[in-house]
């Protein structure tokens, strides 16, 4: 069963490697923020050192690629409903969940690599972060990738309309970005904003990321984020796998 998921993963990864340039485009935007936006934040962060600013901003920028990259993953599967690839796979001897799982794993993998590149660039700019903390952050990114990817595939399979899909993704991405405090911690804002943010899963990921990058491994935000993301991943992956049934009518 899981062998089929790894077969699909391998197939997808080989596809990615044939065109490795596109995922690199995905990190241009967050890197631009790191270069041109971080210097503006010196006065907002206690201490104000380059490292402290980057520790605050980098986790947000990593989650930005999760939102604006992985959320669009569904477009590929929409294409596969149209050229018959999905139809053929469904009547093959494949373990059906592997069709979605293999792809989601590919997206998570791509996201982890992008995130690792961003950490590397941020470190070159002066960020100081321990190996364990960086690895935990990458694990959190992988889960974010699973969540965003499976949400995107589920939406794509259910909607099957590129225009509607891009509208919905944009509609979701913008408020999620703002209310998560991707650029500046929500704790700087008024209380009502902090209350609203508690309903946004991304908020917990950003907060956990900031705790990690500050080196505060004991922070409660970290287990909180992992627990929440595990639960949400189970939900969205199950939903997207079940959505495959709808294709058959």
């Amino acid at each position: 069963m899981f062998k089929h998921a790894t077969l699909i993963l391998g197939y997808e990864v080989r596809g990615l490697l044939r065109n490795p340039i596109w995922p690199l485009f995905g990190i241009v935007q967050p890197v631009l923020y790191l270069v041109f936006f971080a210097p503006l934040l010196g006065s907002t962060v206690p201490g104000g050192s380059d490292s402290a600013v980057l520790a605050m901003l980098t986790p947000g920028m990593m989650l930005m690629i999760a939102l604006f990259g992985s959320m669009f993953a569904g477009f590929s599967i929409m294409n596969d409903t149209r050229n018959g690839v999905l139809e053929r796979l469904i009547v093959s001897q494949i373990w059906r969940p592997a069709i979605v799982l293999g792809r989601v794993l590919k997206d998570a993998l791509a996201l982890v690599i992008q995130a690792a590149l961003i950490i590397a660039i941020s470190m070159a700019m002066g960020l100081r972060v321990g190996a364990l903390q960086a690895l935990l952050m990458l694990a959190l990114m992988a889960m974010t990738g699973l969540l965003a990817g499976s949400l995107s595939y589920g939406l794509a399979i259910n909607i099957r309309d590129e225009n509607a899909m891009s509208q919905i993704v944009q509609f979701m991405a913008m408020p999620l970005t703002l209310i998560a405090g991707l650029f500046l911690p929500v704790s700087l804002g008024p209380e009502w904003l902090q209350s609203v943010a508690k309903f946004n899963p991304l908020y917990y990921a950003v907060e956990a990321g900031r705790s990690l990058f500050r080196g505060d491994l004991g922070a409660s935000t970290i287990p909180m984020a992992f627990a929440l993301f595990t639960a949400l991943c189970v939900l969205t992956v199950t939903w997207s796998v079940r959505s495959l049934r709808k294709l058959a009518g």
């Binding site: 044939r18 053929r88 009547v91 494949i94």
Partner: protein, 324 residues
């Protein structure tokens, strides 16, 4: 029997959740039996329910009612075993455009449980058989329509299944590629693979299949071998166009020809009369004499062999060309 279907039905509900759900009866009770080793065609106009029928037999779509067994397995209760027995080449092809075509073949093999080596060997074998070896490493989007279709069929054959479904295999192909594809289908039959193909081309069904069903509006209209079906209509058809004003002359000619003993049936189609004869070569002079005797001037007269279109016309009251 490789396929036995009984009273298969499929009703789709469209516009659900918007207040006014509407039911579409795509298939309204289809029975068919396909023998092992047969090339069997489902012929019918667009929208007749051909694709839905194939999708139900291939376990893609669940039937609303009725039963079907493929290779002895129930398509609903034993779908996994059915999938292991079939190759499925949908109308859309199912070849990933961005990927080298050989990758599609390899993945299909691996998913069926082959090792990497076995999958590679099988892929190469199929590419050689379908004259695709040289283009196997090109992304599928760079291939021509005919090449893509051959690849799609090769992917369907990776597991060497006893039965392959080909849904409209030649739609959109030029005559040369169509002829090539017909050759491939004949080779499949020679190797003992059962083939179920759908088509809306009369000549394709006529040229390729051992037996066929004609479907229309989700039901089987008639079933048999192409020869038997055509014979049932008549051996030949004489089509007459009169020179003079249409109405009375045509009616007079129709009555006249109907009365001739060697004429089986006369059908009027616009300004044409189609007389069905068992033996057109012998009958034609008599038709000419009979019309001449009554002073009816002929503008043109043609003699044709009966086609499956005549079978369709007889059973549905309209021509397949108009039915789409």
């Amino acid at each position: 029997m490789i396929i036995e279907a009984h009273e298969l039905r499929k009703t789709f509900v469209v516009g659900r959740g918007r207040g006014k759900a509407r039911e579409i009866e795509a298939v309204r009770g289809i029975d068919m039996e396909v023998e092992r080793g047969e090339v069997f065609a489902v012929l019918g106009p667009n929208g007749a329910g051909k694709t839905t029928t194939v999708r139900m037999l291939a376990t893609f779509t669940q039937p609303t009612a009725g039963q079907a067994r493929v290779n002895g397995y129930d398509v609903v209760k034993e779908a996994g075993k059915v999938r292991a027995s079939i190759g499925y080449v949908g109308q859309l092809g199912g070849v990933d455009e961005m990927t080298p075509a050989i990758e599609n073949l390899m993945l299909a093999g691996r998913l069926a449980g082959m090792s990497k080596k076995q999958a590679k060997a099988r892929a190469e074998e199929l590419m050689a058989a379908f004259a695709l070896t040289e283009i196997g490493n090109r992304p599928a989007r760079t291939l021509s329509g005919g090449q893509k279709r051959r690849f799609a069929i090769a992917v369907g054959l990776v597991t060497a299944p006893p039965l392959i479904f080909l849904d409209e295999p030649t739609t959109g192909l030029d005559p040369q590629n169509r002829a090539n594809l017909w050759e491939e289908v004949r080779k499949l039959r020679d190797q003992g693979t059962s083939v179920l193909l759908t088509t809306h081309y009369l000549d394709e069904a006529d040229a390729l299949c051992d037996r066929l069903v004609i479907v229309d509006h989700g039901k089987v209209v008639v079933e048999g071998t192409p020869e038997a079906l055509k014979k049932e209509v008549a051996g030949d058809i004489v089509t007459v166009r009169l020179a003079d004003g249409p109405a009375e002359g045509l009616e007079q000619a129709r009555l006249l020809l109907t009365a001739e003993p060697y004429v089986r049936e006369v059908v009027q189609e616009d300004e044409l009369l189609r007389a069905y004869l068992d033996d057109g070569e012998r009958g034609l002079p008599s038709v000419l004499r009979a019309l001449d005797r009554d002073g009816l001037a002929i503008q043109s007269i043609t003699l044709e062999r009966a086609t499956l279109d005549d079978v369709f016309l007889k059973h549905t009251g309209r021509s397949l060309r108009d039915a789409a």
